[in-house]
């Protein structure tokens, strides 16, 4: 069994690291580079950078931030936000990213998933899904940082995305994001159990228990977190230690 990865998630707007609640009410936290280095040094397994307003503004300006981070951070970096073409993906990978995460553009044109997977390999094509619960056991995929409905069923879209070539799924619960109420375990388990590729649980972590639950009950392969780290509520070391004590296969530093 591969390691349960611990992945700080850095949402970016313009030059700043930001944080919202349910992807709304975005608050400026500071310089993303400082946070990235801090998390790398504290033992993060990977990092995720998402330009969360790239689709909203039709822009993409993460490459400088990624280039700076890649100079000093030597763990895998996933970058998302505003990637709309193979060229965009190439550009961001050349800037130092190891994988690209795509949501809005993949829903607009699903073949993009296949094009990127063929060109750079499935391992570099992460399908990002923003899921909002619409009924018990049912979620709808959203675009534009949780703003626009698509009518797509999350489970069906995840399966289709993998068929098209996605090698990993970043699964964010819009309802839980930023609330510290815990991951949407039902959502994570349904998707994790259905797809043959790794699933990163995202949205809602507020305690060490939530982290463990995502792996044991949610069957997540990786857990991403933002609020608890950005606001210094819990340290990466504590998270790793809690995982180890719970018997989870976390990387030993």
């Amino acid at each position: 069994m591969s390691n349960l990865r611990i992945i700080p998630r850095l949402d970016i707007k313009g030059p700043n690291l930001i944080k919202g609640i349910q992807l709304e009410g975005l608050r400026v936290m500071g310089d993303p580079q400082k946070f990235a280095i801090r998390y790398y040094e504290a033992g993060a397994d990977e990092l995720i950078f998402i330009d969360i307003v790239a689709s909203l503004y039709g822009r993409n300006n993460l490459s400088d931030i990624v280039r700076r981070a890649a100079d000093q951070v030597f763990i895998p970096i996933t970058v998302g936000g505003g990637i709309r073409s193979v060229d965009d993906a190439r550009h961001i990978l050349r800037s130092g990213a190891d994988k690209v995460a795509i949501n809005t553009a993949a829903i607009a044109r699903p073949e993009l998933i296949t094009e990127i997977a063929r060109r750079f390999g499935s391992q570099a094509m992460v399908l990002s899904i923003e899921a909002k619960q619409v009924a018990a056991g049912k979620w709808e995929a959203y675009t534009d940082n949780g703003r626009e409905r698509t009518g797509l069923d999350v489970l069906e879209w995840a399966l289709r995305g993998v068929e098209l070539g996605a090698g990993e799924i970043l699964l964010t619960s819009v309802d839980r994001e930023g609330t510290r109420r815990g991951f949407d375990i039902d959502l994570i388990r349904q998707v994790s159990d259905a797809v043959p590729v790794p699933v990163i649980a995202s949205g809602g972590m507020g305690s060490l228990g939530h982290f463990i639950q995502a792996a044991t009950e949610g069957h997540a392969d990786a857990v991403s977190m933002a609020d608890v780290l950005h606001y210094n509520r819990i340290g990466l070391h504590e998270i790793r230690e809690a995982g180890r004590q719970a018997g989870l296969a976390v990387r030993v530093l």
Binding site: G14, I21, E24, G25, R27, L56, E148, T179, R181
Partner: protein, 443 residues
């Protein structure tokens, strides 16, 4: 009184070519200017005394100073740099100390919807300042599902609440009249909302009322912020004969539309002599505490599980403010028609002033979302605005076409467009001046 006619077709020639200064409607400034700091334009009307609002009313609009900065931005600057918030908080504590009940009875009234701002106001008054607030709510026209849930979350976070729901038929009729006469579907709601708390204060003998932020945060004259107290003219009137609702006088509402005095009670302002006699004080909490809508949202999530709406509101990017009422979408759509200012402009201007987004981002948001037609609840709203004979035997006769249809609404919209803001070009309406036009961007 004449029947309310079907809106006539507009003369497009008045909207072609260049604008003529004399054609600015509603007393709006003929030259359109945008604040160089936020995205608001000088066409934004200040809060009006709504019960005096009739077809012919002229608007007072937001002031832009010689540097091109609006009063709301100046006030935001003042909030950051000049105001001594610790001193203001001491004043709040003194005010609370003066009124706090010893026996656990209610000592203040907090009006609100249970949205993020009223959630913050009542909760912090109760939990930090030891007050015993009675919250009062003037119901939306038609609740959104999430608005209703957030309202419940507010109450369940530890508040007593009086929910006042006006007579649906009367509310529909007044709203329809406000649409036809003023293109202002929110007016009856605003009347009730402004009057309810002072009137409840009289009824329940609770002399202290806290509203949230001062409207000057959004552009009323900056001098309004020098007092913690709300101007009485917004919520009292001594003489009922001077009151109009939906642009129709009380007299005509009774004579021609079949309304009785009882139907009008909720919409009538409080009696200033009673307010004086009972020493009711109406304060803005925003005078004492530095108001930040985004922080109110965080606070409401933290202390009561407040939820953003599941999708962005039409006409804007936002999911966390003004999300209770299905007719709200239309309120902002109509301000877009009349003043050229849509929902994204209001939201972005506020967030720029609070430092949450940049002006460049705000401009992009306005360009993308402002003036979007609010499709999601449209059919339901047109039904709501219809006055069928079966439900309104007398009032329906006063409309040439009692049923509100999309065609009717759009024809009405065209009648409310001012030629100095809109032009008719290539078969569609376009803004003559928009904040994303390069000449309006700051140097």
């Amino acid at each position: 009184m004449e029947k309310i006619p079907y809106p006539k077709a507009v003369d497009y020639s008045r909207y072609e070519g260049e604008a003529h200064a004399y054609e600015a409607k509603y007393g709006l400034p003929s030259e359109v200017r945008f604040c160089v700091r936020c995205v608001i334009s000088n066409q934004r009307p200040n809060s009006a005394v709504e019960y005096k609002h009739v077809k012919e009313s002229k608007k007072q609009t937001i002031n832009l100073d010689e540097e091109g900065v609006c009063d709301a931005c100046r006030f935001a600057e003042k909030k950051r740099a000049e105001i001594d918030w610790e001193e203001r908080e001491r004043q709040l504590v003194a005010l609370c100390d003066k009124h706090r009940s010893k026996d656990g009875s209610y000592d203040c009234i907090v009006p609100g919807s249970g949205g993020k701002d009223s959630f913050y106001a009542s909760h912090i008054l109760r939990n930090k300042y030891g007050m015993h607030p009675l919250t009062v709510t003037w119901a939306p026209h038609i609740y959104t599902e999430w608005g209703w849930k957030n309202f419940q979350r507010w109450i369940h976070a530890g508040h007593d609440n009086l929910l006042f729901t006006p007579n649906g038929r009367v509310h529909r009729l007044l709203t329809r009249l406000a649409v036809d006469n003023l293109f202002h579907p929110f007016q009856p709601f605003m009347l009730g909302q402004k009057f309810l708390a002072p009137k409840m204060a009289l009824l329940h003998k609770i002399p202290l009322v806290f509203f949230g932020e001062n409207e000057a945060e959004y552009g009323n004259p900056i001098s309004d912020t020098e007092s913690s107290k709300r101007d009485w003219s917004y919520f009292t009137a001594a003489d009922q004969s001077k009151v109009s609702l939906g642009g129709v006088s009380v007299h005509d509402l009774k004579q021609y539309f079949g309304l009785e005095q009882q139907d009008l009670i909720p919409y009538l302002p409080a009696d200033p002599y009673q307010i004086e006699a009972q020493k009711v004080e109406v304060h803005y909490l925003g005078y004492y505490l530095k108001w930040h809508p985004q922080s109110c949202y965080y606070y409401a999530v933290e202390h009561g599980g407040f939820q953003a709406s599941p999708e962005r509101t039409p006409g804007t990017y936002s999911k966390y403010n003004s999300i209770d009422d299905r007719i709200d979408d239309f309120h902002y759509y109509t301000t877009g028609i009349k003043f050229g200012i849509g929902r994204a402009t209001y939201d972005a201007a506020q967030e720029i002033r609070s430092g949450d987004i940049t002006r460049e981002e705000g401009v992009a948001l306005v360009k993308r979302f402002d003036h979007e037609f609010p499709e999601r609840f449209a059919e339901e709203i047109f039904q709501y605005l219809s006055i069928p004979e079966k439900e309104f035997p007398q009032a329906s006769k006063m409309f040439e076409q009692p049923y509100m249809t999309r065609e009717y609404f759009m024809a009405l919209a065209d009648n409310f467009r001012s030629p100095h803001l809109w032009k008719w070009e290539d078969g569609q309406w376009k803004l003559r001046h928009a904040v994303w036009h390069s000449e309006h961007l700051p140097k």
